[in-house]
């Protein structure tokens, strides 16, 4: 039975896919329903910078013609999605959330965008974000703050905040985000959706505006774990246009999703990740880990001795690489950057060459320690974000005796897995004080399938965290 048109956007990507495949719903119907919901909800949520309504419907019509002729490109055939606005799209504005690039029309598209299109996806538009991805609140000085669908007075987290809000509110069935220090996992946690940062090199970054080359990852943000598997499947693999995109074989992620966690060993680090953490978030994350134990996983405490080194290396690397990536644009247009990110990029000019290289040596030691720990365990579990979403106007947060600006907390638990390039997901694990909390699960290189299996177990027990606020808008 097909859903009523106004309910169509509440289906998961996988559910819609089945309905398009069976031709009980058309791509035009799904796309129209999303566009109507964008028109209704996005004036408040502010998740899109550009909506390509006419082009989207044209693309959807084309997909329906293909389907009527018996063709089916795969699970993304006819499914409306959207892209973070640092992913290049030919002839469509790509601002990176900045004023500097407001009028820029790229002449080519990112490989990830091309692959999603080739897999049949319909692109609805480009999503708001923290300016140049250098921040974790998605309070954007040029395009306005992205608002959390669970409480529009609160932030979404970032930098892929528009992607998280749009997916959570049902404005699209899935979105692409990018993650340099937590920018997929943090907003996924705060908006109650699934956000997967794949292994470094799993998804091509060709045509994705860089923040820090050795830390940047592109990944899916979806309402379900299976949906993330399907989006990753369409994008993963080698790319002659990105030297770091790996030719490591791509498994069938969706086939693994329901394999469960019986016998998996899950390590819970005793240091760093648990302090400071909001007690309500801690409770939900520990309950999520308990679910994994009840499903047959063995939970082990582990110790990581290089975390201070890791944090220093991650911070120095991101500052230095960001300043390098923006050097030419800062010289030309620094006055057009928002004040917060202008200062951040400027600070990167003061990481010396020797200190940058020391950070890379430290990175090697951290990576080796993680490799040793992953001989003892199959996954590592931590809170994805130590706090629930803060108010947009909130300047300070006090947690566990630590008082600091929200950005101190937001991506604190994520950067380790950028530095080491390991796959990591945030999966919703319950509500903490009426707001979503996320459990972070990280795995060995190229083992996204294992990460998703465990996330699926949590998802099955917790269920979807549907935004309450957006229903009444």
């Amino acid at each position: 039975m097909s859903a009523a048109s106004h309910e169509l956007p509440d289906l998961s990507l996988s559910e819609l896919s089945e309905q398009i495949r069976s031709r009980s719903v058309s791509s035009v119907e799904a796309t129209t329903a999303c566009l109507e919901r964008i028109e209704r909800l996005d004036p408040l949520l502010n998740s899109f910078i550009t909506v390509t309504a006419e082009a989207s419907l044209e693309q959807a019509r084309h997909r329906d013609v293909e389907r009527a002729a018996g063709a089916w490109r795969g699970p993304l055939h006819g499914v409306p999605i959207a892209l973070k606005d640092l992913i290049l799209t030919r002839g469509i504005p790509t601002t990176s959330g900045s004023d500097v690039l407001r009028d820029w029309l790229p002449t080519y598209s990112a490989t990830a965008a091309d692959r999603l299109e080739a897999a049949g996806a319909v692109m609805l538009g480009k999503l708001n974000m923290h300016e140049f991805a250098f921040g974790a609140t998605s309070i954007n000085p040029h395009y306005g703050p992205v608002r959390n669908p669970h409480d529009p007075t609160r932030i979404t987290g970032g930098s892929s905040g528009g992607s998280a809000a749009a997916v959570a509110a049902g404005l699209c069935y899935g979105a692409l985000g990018s993650d340099t220090g937590g920018s997929i996992r943090c907003p996924a946690a705060l908006c109650g959706i699934v956000g997967l940062k794949p292994t470094y090199g799993r998804v091509s970054r060709h045509g994705v505006l860089p923040l820090a080359w050795s830390l940047d990852h592109v990944g899916p943000m979806t309402r379900t774990v299976r949906d993330a598997a399907l989006m990753l499947q369409a994008m993963a693999g080698a790319d002659p246009l990105d030297d770091m995109a790996s030719s490591e074989p791509v498994p069938d992620y969706a086939a693994e999703v329901d394999a469960g966690v019986q016998g998996l060993r899950i390590g819970v680090p005793v240091e760093f990740f648990w302090h400071p953490v909001d007690p309500r978030v801690r409770e939900r994350v520990l309950a999520g880990i308990e679910l994994l134990a009840r499903a047959g996983a063995e939970i082990r405490e582990i110790s990581l001795s290089t975390l201070d080194m890791a944090r220093a290396a991650q911070t120095l690397t991101i500052y230095a690489e960001a300043a390098a990536a923006h050097r030419a644009m800062l010289r030309e247009s620094s006055h057009r950057y928002g004040p917060t990110v202008r200062v951040r990029f400027a600070c990167g000019l003061f990481v010396s060459g020797p200190d940058y290289l020391a950070a890379q040596q430290a990175r090697r030691l951290v990576r080796r320690e993680l490799a040793r720990r992953f001989e003892e365990v199959d996954l590592i579990a931590t809170p994805a974000c130590p706090i629930p979403a803060t108010r947009i106007d909130q300047k300070r947060v006090a947690v566990d005796g630590v008082e600091a600006p929200p950005q101190y907390f937001l991506v604190r638990n994520n950067g380790l897995f950028n530095l080491t390039g390991l796959p990591a997901v945030s999966v919703p694990c319950g509500m903490a004080g009426g707001l979503p909390a996320g459990l972070q699960l990280a795995g060995r290189p190229w083992e996204e399938g294992t990460v998703l299996r465990a996330a699926r177990v949590v998802e099955q027990a917790v269920g979807p965290l549907k935004p309450q606020a957006s229903e009444n808008l």
């Binding site: 470094y200 080194m309 010289r331 620094s334 600070c347 030691l365 530095l419 080491t420």
Partner: protein, 63 residues
């Protein structure tokens, strides 16, 4: 050793299209001091100088 504020000012003047506001400059100085602390922390770590350096986080990722 801390970078003098005059040197920070000189580097910014070369690198940016327009000068920072006073508040922004103060914020840069504060963050530079933080960066110096992190660099100092790494100098105290047992890094292996004989090891080749790579910035690729996953070695198998390179083709």
């Amino acid at each position: 050793m801390s970078l003098p504020e005059e040197e920070i000012d000189r580097v910014l003047a070369e690198a940016l299209a327009q000068p920072l506001s006073e508040a922004e400059f103060d914020e840069v100085v504060e963050t530079v001091r933080f960066i110096e602390q992190l660099s100092e922390l790494l100098r105290g770590c047992p890094l292996e100088m004989e090891e080749p350096v790579t910035s690729a986080p996953v070695e198998a990722g390179a083709r």
